[in-house]
Symmetry: C2
Subunit: 307 residues, 2 copies
């Protein structure tokens, strides 16, 4: 089993969906990634920043799951990053109601000594220069995974390219892959991204699943068709966390094993959307996960005689 370093936001979220709304609850990319990877009992560390308004209860929630928080800086007299959003009935569209960077504005990430030799680095969505800062502190990781989004393509493209050049795997959604490359075909987009640095490209398609590209190989993972999506917040981060967590646990970074990692990520994401915020993710049991993986197996298995 390898170690896993996670950088990303740790935040307060306030969420509105057609099914209800929340006050400030636990959120942030690193939080979802950490909780998702914790399903594999990996030795992980979150590198992030919060204010002193961040409750001890949330810190405990992370620590209890074997997530090291010595790299989670707590800024005195600082306020935790806050995001607020409203989802429409069609859950793939949302309005951002508020984004308050607060302590995140001056964040200088510090990777704890004990994790500088970690095998796997998961760069959650955050300013590319912060992600770059983490990469520079690591001592020869075996696998670096980047998650990013269109916001950084619009506002920090040059910095983003610097990060992309240094990672092994990138996870982005289909529209972002098209924006980054100017190519409509995802096959051609993935090939153009290979030329930027990454050897593996994961394209997230939400309710349509995900595609993994490596050299000439393609793997297509379905999403589990759901009766309802209660709250999509964090689903992409949960996917990335399950992917990174499984890879750190198995210490096997082949295309074959990444396919399995994508199914784990997809299964964990399918839990994430069932309740507000991290609530459902916090209590997924091994037995529930196994049942859901079985559903993915049934969803995709067919017999065809090619003799």
């Amino acid at each position: 089993m390898g170690q896993l370093v996670i950088v990303g936001t740790v935040a307060f979220d306030a969420i509105e969906t057609p099914f209800g709304k929340t006050d400030k609850i636990l959120g942030g990319a690193a939080t979802y990634i950490g909780l998702s990877a914790a399903q594999f009992n990996v030795d992980s560390a979150i590198v992030s920043v919060v204010g002193n308004d961040f409750p001890q209860e949330y810190l405990d929630l992370l620590s209890e799951r074997n997530i090291d928080i010595s790299g989670l800086e707590i800024v005195n007299d600082g306020k935790t990053f806050f995001w607020s959003g409203r989802y429409h009935f069609v859950m793939n569209t949302r309005d951002t109601l508020a984004t308050e960077l607060n302590v995140l504005a001056d964040f200088n990430p510090i990777v704890p000594e004990a994790y500088k030799k970690a095998e796997v680095v998961m760069l959650g969505n955050l300013h590319p220069l912060v992600q770059l800062g983490v990469i520079e502190q690591m001592e020869n990781p075996k696998l670096t995974i980047l998650d990013t989004m269109n916001f950084w393509m619009d506002n920090a493209l040059e910095d983003l390219h610097k990060v992309i050049a240094k990672v092994d795997v990138i996870t982005i959604n289909d529209e972002e892959a098209r924006q980054l490359t100017g190519e409509y075909s995802l096959v051609t987009a993935a090939q153009k991204i290979f030329a930027l640095g990454p050897k593996f490209v994961v394209i997230k398609k939400g309710e349509h699943g995900a595609l993994l590209f490596h050299k000439q190989h393609i793997f297509s993972a379905p999403a589990l068709p759901l009766k309802s999506v209660f709250d999509p917040t964090g689903a992409g981060d949960t996917f990335a966390g399950g992917f990174a967590g499984y890879l750190a646990k198995t210490n096997d970074f082949t295309f074959e094993n990444m396919k399995t990692a994508i199914i784990y990520g997809s299964a964990l994401a399918s839990f994430c959307v069932e309740e507000f915020g991290t609530k459902r993710l916090e209590k997924v049991t091994d037995s529930e996960l196994k049942t859901r993986l079985q559903q993915f197996k049934e969803l995709t298995t067919f017999n065809i005689d090619l003799s």
Copy 2:
């Protein structure tokens, strides 16, 4: 091996894509379905209508593939149905430039005597009353498959419901499933469609593949990720034709076998879009099809230890 009756349009199409344009070429739902099902050498019959402007060469093209055309009425002094459309760079959107019903306006379908006992009926996209007329002439088919579209939901919903009540399988796209049921979740939409009659619901998602629903079971088939789509015309009909053709050939109408049929349909559709109109479909070899099925297998196979 069972017999297959196909009803649907036989037409002239004029197509514009970002890659070029055609004059009037062979088109129509029944044409694509027939050519796709012909890959399985099934004994099939097309029930449709054309004008006397329809070239002998196109009739020969169908006959040569073991497609019976005694139910393809040729109206003297009539003109063949004509459709013209232009595809945008993003190929899932298109403008219809012309629709001339011509002989289709008064079409009264007649199923040839020799095919009234056919095991499989494929109702291609057409007015629901014409589809109903074919159902009424059949003597106890084992499987009736309906393909339809939003146009009939907008303009002939009551008639469409009459057809839906009488079929075993319906194939529609995701937006149409939502329109028909008023449900956003495709799982819930499929359940509502079960209540209307069909035991199997196939939801086509274009570049995102297809879902098959039956009772509590779901199968998710990917689409083959493609570098370019030259001309999407007929891809849905080709999918339906491959599905129906494989089922007629195997005479096995279980959920398990339908999964395989969907992969065959998807593989044939992936050829269809490679050239204008029916050109590519006309010349798919068994060996090419086998290679593509192997690609679907690789695309979807993963190992997961659930012990």
